[in-house]
């Protein structure tokens, strides 16, 4: 039987997604004042708990302290050794993750709901009463050094760290490059002091996602709501740092045997709290924010210079910046840089056509749907809001902007913020 072919030259009718359902977080407060945001999501019996502390690099008295404090939490606490913590989490198939970035520290637990109680008990102990055992710290720092040595052989890492230094300066927490010797300067006391100051209930926010009922709140109250964990009562002074961008156009880190060079191009802009951020997000998407972007089309699909290129607006708590990143063949490095600037210029000079704008709009609405699709994406979307002290209304503003921005607005934003002359670039590798 041969079947008749359908009409294949026309795309089937599509519906435009103009609004998205954003579940609002329910707010609770535990007895000790710890704010809890809860979002019911998904069909599986899992629970994800995320704790957010203002304890990133921004607040550290010397390099590596923020990261080491956070990552060492699970290496020993008052009631559990490092080995017991690992054994308990693995036995219940749970994941305990501790990670600090430039601004915040995050301690998270992913577990089957039926094992929330025993795993949360461990999380609470490591957050409230870590002991930072000396032997564990030595092993941790030695292994971290080896990891550092590996990472810093990669052109991608070199280009990234020198780019951040060029944007913010070597004395700024977003710009300073970690040194191998920094690993020798961190002691137990540094971690203990930093923990005591920053890992308190009054400086913590908690997000819980997944299958949530009364028993979940009860566990949270029991483990994290007690009077034994409150705060120092002192207000933490937020240190003040200002970016100091280099006046050089290019910083170059040579790696003579490289077959590809890693590139970063961009400038200091602003974060999600700035009114122009959602609009600039649209501009960025057109430029290099998705697979069909202009940079991908030109540098990869037309020229074949690279396996991939993207641009992103990186929102930090105190600043924000644009970065365009790629790894390109050493022999076409200069040509690729020229082509990238050409695309930026085009955004400033020519109005984006309606078909491209419609496509970007619809793509971005699809991305917003995906950002709230299931408990794990929802948790990470909310955490990024909490980090910025924003609430769900932010996404209503994004939806509005995506639906209403015009080609004129886009050109205006590009002219206001994306001037090629103001960009800094970092190249690591070999540029022939």
């Amino acid at each position: 039987m041969t079947m008749e072919n359908p009409e294949r030259t026309q795309q089937p009718a599509i519906q435009t997604i103009s609004s998205i359902h954003i579940a609002r977080a329910q707010q609770h407060t535990l007895s000790n004042g710890l704010p809890v945001y809860a979002i019911e999501s998904g069909t599986e019996d899992i629970v994800k708990v995320d704790l957010l502390f203002r304890a990133g690099n921004w607040f550290q008295p010397k390099p590596l302290v923020a990261e080491a404090t956070c990552e060492m939490l699970s290496e020993g606490s008052q009631n559990y050794t490092s080995r017991q913590i690992a054994a308990q989490m693995d036995y219940y198939g749970a994941f305990l993750r501790t990670a600090a970035n430039k601004d915040v520290a995050n301690v998270s637990l992913l577990t089957l709901k039926k094992y929330l109680s025993p795993t949360l008990q461990v999380l609470a102990d490591v957050v409230k009463k870590p002991t930072f055992p000396q032997q564990e710290l030595i092993t941790y720092l030695n292994n971290k050094k080896q990891h550092y040595q590996l990472e810093y052989t990669k052109v991608n890492t070199l280009s990234k760290v020198h780019f951040n230094e060029a944007l913010f300066g070597s004395h700024h927490p977003y710009g300073r490059i970690l040194q191998l010797e920094d690993h020798d300067q961190v002691g137990r006391d540094d971690l203990g002091d930093f923990h005591q100051k920053h890992y308190t209930a009054d400086q913590c926010a908690l997000l819980v996602t997944g299958k949530i009922d009364e028993s979940v709140f009860q566990s949270l109250e029991e483990q994290l709501g007690g009077e034994d964990w409150k705060g120092s009562g002192n207000t933490i002074q937020t240190p003040d740092f200002r970016p100091f961008t280099t006046t050089e156009t290019e910083v170059f880190t040579p790696k003579p045997d490289a077959v590809q060079s890693a590139l970063r191009i961009g400038k200091v802009l602003f974060n999600k709290r700035h009114p122009d951020f959602p609009g600039l997000q649209v501009v960025n998407t057109i430029l290099g924010g998705y697979f069909g972007s202009r940079l991908m089309k030109k540098i990869r699909e037309e020229k074949g210079y690279t396996y991939g290129i993207f641009s992103v607006l990186v929102p930090m708590v105190n600043e924000g910046y644009l970065t365009i990143a790629s790894e390109v063949g050493a022999n076409v490095c200069r040509k690729a840089i020229d082509a990238i600037y050409e695309e930026i210029k085009k955004l400033r000079e020519e109005k984006v056509g309606q078909p491209e704008l419609t496509m970007v709009r619809n793509y971005m609405m699809g991305q917003l749907l995906r950002a709230f699709d299931g408990p794990l994406p929802t948790a990470s979307t909310y955490m990024s809001l909490m980090e910025m002290n924003l609430d769900e209304d932010y996404y209503q503003r994004v939806v509005y902007t995506v639906n209403n921005i015009t080609p004129e607005d886009i050109r205006e934003l590009a002219n206001k913020y994306l001037n090629e002359q103001e960009m800094v670039r970092s190249v690591a590798g070999k540029c022939e």
Binding site: P6, I14, D257, G304, M359, G374
Partner: protein, 413 residues
């Protein structure tokens, strides 16, 4: 429980539908039963190059990405030694666009010499980025060619030698398509908030008219049993010495596949695992250790790799590692330790089920192995493994005569 319906169209296309009301997103996954193992040894890397070319426009649709993005969709693909897998997600209201796009490129491509030339460059840059410009980037290639003497798993998906890609002609590329891309060589899986009847209707409309094709039957040679230890030393400009060990194991449908997977978990899954606790934390001979199975359809590998700490000699580290493997062979694993790795398998399966895309991928892959319903029964199969199974399979697999070892030395600074 993942409920699904399954049927085969007249042209041989297998279709699986899993209704999931919890998500506004629809997922379309199309698995083609063609991977690097189906390639001609003189023309390796073709399956992967082809994955790139599938995005370069089809018979009636000049651009794949544009209409998909217009429908709010996103897509990607990957190539392994066994399969090439394409997936897209989009608002479920626009699911039909997914059928339209995927069926048109199954029908035929619209390749020009220029498009082929550019994608060859992109793949060469991918090779440079992933394999040449990364420390230890060639380790897996070296291990494959040591471990496999006849089976095509001896080359990576990127290819044995990049000259194979550089030399690919348009004619060869087109011939590859008609030998491997066909409804009767594919599995279509759809997940989303949609009636199975509606999916059936769309599958029939869009894929039904595509004729089945003659699939190149290639007898893939079975790798003979390895009878003596193999090893190789290399010295490169890398920061640390690393040891790699590759042990042959059973194919994916063999009853000993699951015990081998659990053995890799006992060794290195999570911070409580043996290698981490004893050799990273205890003896401090390694700064990290990893063990995993390649997960191939045919007889794959159980891989162990470890970065040595500066004061540990290569052979000293290897001895300590072999002592740990000997313990698995000589002593039955404690019930509680075995239960731990089984619990983790169960938990990870549950976490995975929160993602429609992962469900679609798993349904397709299990169907390729013979039964999509293994998505629901796999946990029980893991639960049934006994300490005796672990010991027996350890003795069989973790044998040095069954192993290829790569000593990867850092050039003296």
């Amino acid at each position: 429980m993942v409920d699904f319906t399954k049927y085969t169209l007249d042209n041989g296309l297998k279709v699986i539908v899993h209704p999931d009301a919890s998500t506004p997103i629809g997922t379309v996954n199309l698995l083609y039963n063609v991977g690097a193992k189906h390639e001609n040894p003189e023309r390796t890397g073709f399956a992967h190059l082809f994955e790139h070319l599938m995005f370069e426009g089809s018979v009636h649709i000049p651009s794949y990405d544009t209409p998909l993005q217009k429908a709010g969709g996103e897509n990607n693909a990957f190539t392994s030694n066994d399969i090439t897998n394409y997936y897209l997600t989009l608002p479920v209201e626009n699911l039909e666009t997914g059928f339209w796009l995927e069926s048109d490129r199954m029908l035929g491509l619209n390749l020009t010499e220029e498009k082929i030339r550019v994608q060859k460059n992109v793949v060469i840059e991918e090779f440079n980025q992933r394999y040449r410009n990364q420390p230890y980037g060639d380790a897996m290639m070296l291990l494959r060619e040591m471990a496999y003497k006849v089976h095509p798993y001896q080359w990576s998906t990127i290819g044995k030698d990049i000259s194979h890609i550089e030399g690919a002609t348009g004619e060869e590329v087109r011939a590859f398509f008609y030998r491997h891309y066909a409804p009767n060589n594919a599995i279509l899986t759809v997940v989303g908030n949609i009636e199975p009847e509606k999916v059936k209707e769309m599958a029939n409309r869009w894929f039904g008219p595509i004729p089945s094709r003659e699939i190149a039957q290639k007898d893939i040679p079975r790798e003979p049993v390895q009878e003596e230890a193999r090893s190789r030393e290399v010295t490169r400009d890398v920061p640390h010495n690393v040891i790699y060990k590759a042990y042959h194991m059973n194919d994916h449908n063999h009853p000993d596949y699951i015990p081998a997977d659990l053995i890799s978990d006992l060794l290195a899954n999570g911070n409580s695992a043996r290698l981490y606790q004893n050799l990273v934390k205890g003896k401090k001979m390694f700064s990290n250790l990893d063990a995993h199975i390649t997960g191939d359809v045919d007889e794959g590998l159980l891989l162990i790799s470890g970065t040595l700490t500066p004061n540990t000699g290569m052979k000293q580290g290897e001895e300590a590692l072999l002592e740990e493997l000997a313990r698995l062979k000589n002593e039955p694993v404690d019930e509680q330790e075995l239960q731990k790795v089984k619990n983790k398998v169960e938990a990870v399966h549950t976490y995975t089920k929160t993602s429609a895309l992962h469900k679609a991928l798993n349904l397709s892959y299990f169907e390729l192995l013979g039964d999509a319903n293994r998505i629901n029964t796999e946990d029980q199969a893991y639960q049934k493994v006994t300490p005796a199974d672990v010991q027996r399979v350890s003795q069989k697999v973790l044998d040095e005569n069954n192993c290829s070892t790569l000593y990867y030395y850092a050039k003296a600074q």
